[in-house]
Structure formats: structure tokens, C-alpha cells
């Protein structure tokens, strides 16, 4: 049986991702279109929230991915720290802009939804605030990668930043439970009894969540491949300069 560490070989990683990406991209498109069309066109208005309930199909999946993208970066950073596989450091770098956009979507749709429901675009509520801090961490992480020329040093420092930022990624998820205050409700979906959401909304929401997870995977694979190629390019150019 082949080991997962085989994919730490950049050549093997690119060969494998080039093979599976077309099918994954099609699956992503189908899941996103199906989920969003189902959610937008075929779900009824909520008795309290009216048609704004349709924002849930963007807000919840993007918030889910905003947190999970950072957790994926954390795992990749730990692999870099422990095993020094370049592909894992580059995968963390590749995931950051995707996580940043997901966080932006969660914040923007949350503000747009909050205005008619809470009467305000923004409140210094624990969940909203921890999401804003997560957004700033994403910016800092991307800026740090861009600011340091040496790839290994950049990977080391961003891995440390990622460890620190993980506290806020977790806080974003559990802030409502830690501090029982603020405007934001608890989890929309839960395995515990006393579900808050009707199946009419839950099914298209699951499809949208699957679509966002797939979108994240596809984009991270594409972008990691690009980072691997860009790194090889830098190595070849440096070699050329030394030979000249």
C-alpha cells in the first residue's frame, strides 16, 4: 500500500492532482450550482426572517470553510515543522487566499443579513469579533509570506503565525458557547437533539456545504501546484544566475 508521504514529492503531487482535478472541478460546479439554485429558487421564506433565510446557503458554508481552511493550514504547518516537507508548507500558503475570501464572504453576508434582522450591520459580538480577527490573521499570514524572500524562513515564520492564529479560528467556532452573550445565534446545524433548522433548508444547505468544501479542495490543489512550479522556477533561476 502506498504511503500518504509519497505525495510530499512535488512531482508525484503534480502528476496526481493534474489527473484528478478535471473530475473534481466538474463535481464542484455541479454541487455549487445544485445547492445554490435549490436554496435560492426552491426554498420558501422563513416565517420570521422572510427571504433573508436564503443568505444561509452562502453564509454558513463560507464561515465553515473560513475556519476549516485555517485548520488545514495548521495541519500543513505542523507537517512542515516536524517533517520539513516543502509541499505541505506550499499547500498552507496556497490555502490562505482561499480562506481569506471565505472569511470575507462570511463577514459580508453576515453584515448584510444582520442589518434587517438585528437592525445593525455590525456588533462587537464574540463570534463576529473573532471572525474579524481571523480575517486580519489571514491578511498577516499572506503578507508575511510575501515579505520574506527565503522560502524556508517564510515557511517557518508563517507556521508559527498559523499556530497562534489557530486560537482565533477555534474561538470563531466556539465563541458563542464560551461567552453566552452577543447577537449571533449558536450553531445552525448540530448533531445534538433539538435541531433548529427544518429539512427544507437543511438539505440544500448540506449540498452547498459540500460544494464549498470541494471548491476549497480544487482551489488549494491548483494553487499548490502553482506554488510548487513557482518554487522550482526560483531554484532554476538562482542556479542560472550562479552559473552565469
Amino acid at each position: 500500500m502506498s504511503s500518504i508521504w509519497e505525495y510530499a514529492n512535488p512531482k508525484k503531487f503534480i502528476e496526481t492532482t493534474d489527473r484528478i482535478l478535471p473530475a473534481l472541478a466538474v463535481l464542484t460546479g455541479v454541487a455549487l450550482l445544485l445547492g445554490l439554485i435549490w436554496g435560492f429558487f426552491l426554498t420558501p421564506d422563513d416565517f420570521r426572517q422572510g427571504s433573508t433565510v436564503k443568505i444561509v446557503f452562502l453564509h454558513v458554508p463560507s464561515a465553515l470553510m473560513a475556519i476549516n481552511a485555517w485548520l488545514m493550514m495548521l495541519v500543513a504547518s505542523l507537517i512542515w515543522i516536524v517533517r520539513r516537507h516543502h509541499v505541505s508548507a506550499l499547500a498552507a500558503r496556497a490555502a490562505a487566499p482561499v480562506g481569506l475570501v471565505m472569511t470575507m464572504i462570511a463577514l459580508l453576508t453576515g453584515a448584510i443579513w444582520g442589518q434587517p434582522m438585528w437592525g445593525t450591520w455590525w456588533a462587537w459580538d464574540p463570534r463576529l469579533t473573532s471572525f474579524l480577527i481571523l480575517f486580519l490573521f489571514y491578511l498577516g499570514y499572506i503578507a508575511l509570506w510575501a515579505a520574506i524572500e527565503n522560502d524556508d524562513t517564510a515557511a517557518d515564520l508563517t507556521a508559527i503565525l498559523c499556530l497562534v492564529g489557530s486560537v482565533f479560528a477555534l474561538l470563531s467556532r466556539y465563541a458563542v458557547n464560551f461567552w453566552n452573550q452577543g447577537l449571533h445565534q449558536g450553531a445552525s446545524l448540530s448533531v445534538k437533539s433539538g435541531e433548529r433548522m427544518d429539512m427544507t433548508y437543511k438539505l440544500p444547505l448540506y449540498v452547498c456545504m459540500a460544494g464549498f468544501v470541494l471548491l476549497f479542495v480544487v482551489l488549494v490543489l491548483i494553487r499548490t501546484g502553482t506554488e510548487i512550479r513557482a518554487r522550482r522556477m526560483r531554484v532554476l533561476l538562482a542556479r542560472e544566475r550562479m552559473g552565469a
Partner: protein, 52 residues
Amino acid sequence: MMPDLGKYAEAVLSSYALSIMLIAGLVAVSLIRARRVRKELQGIERKAKTNG
């Protein structure tokens, strides 16, 4: 058949428009950079091979 979004039409439509724009932008930037880097690397590798 556009659903009747009532008084919240602006909020719902702007949420969808903004999100779709951001996702489309991210996908476009990722694909354009992937194509450019792939092309540049091919050029550099070809040159490196020619120079031995």
C-alpha cells in the same frame, strides 16, 4: 422564474452578487496565475536544457 423576495430583495440579491463575484474572482486569479507560472517554467526548463 425569479422568487418573490419581498422587502428583503436588496439584502438577498446583494449577498448572492457579492459572494459570486468574490468566488469568480478568486477562481479567475488562481487559474490565470497557474497558466502563467506553468508557461514561464516550461520556458526556463527549455532554456536550461539547451544550455546543458
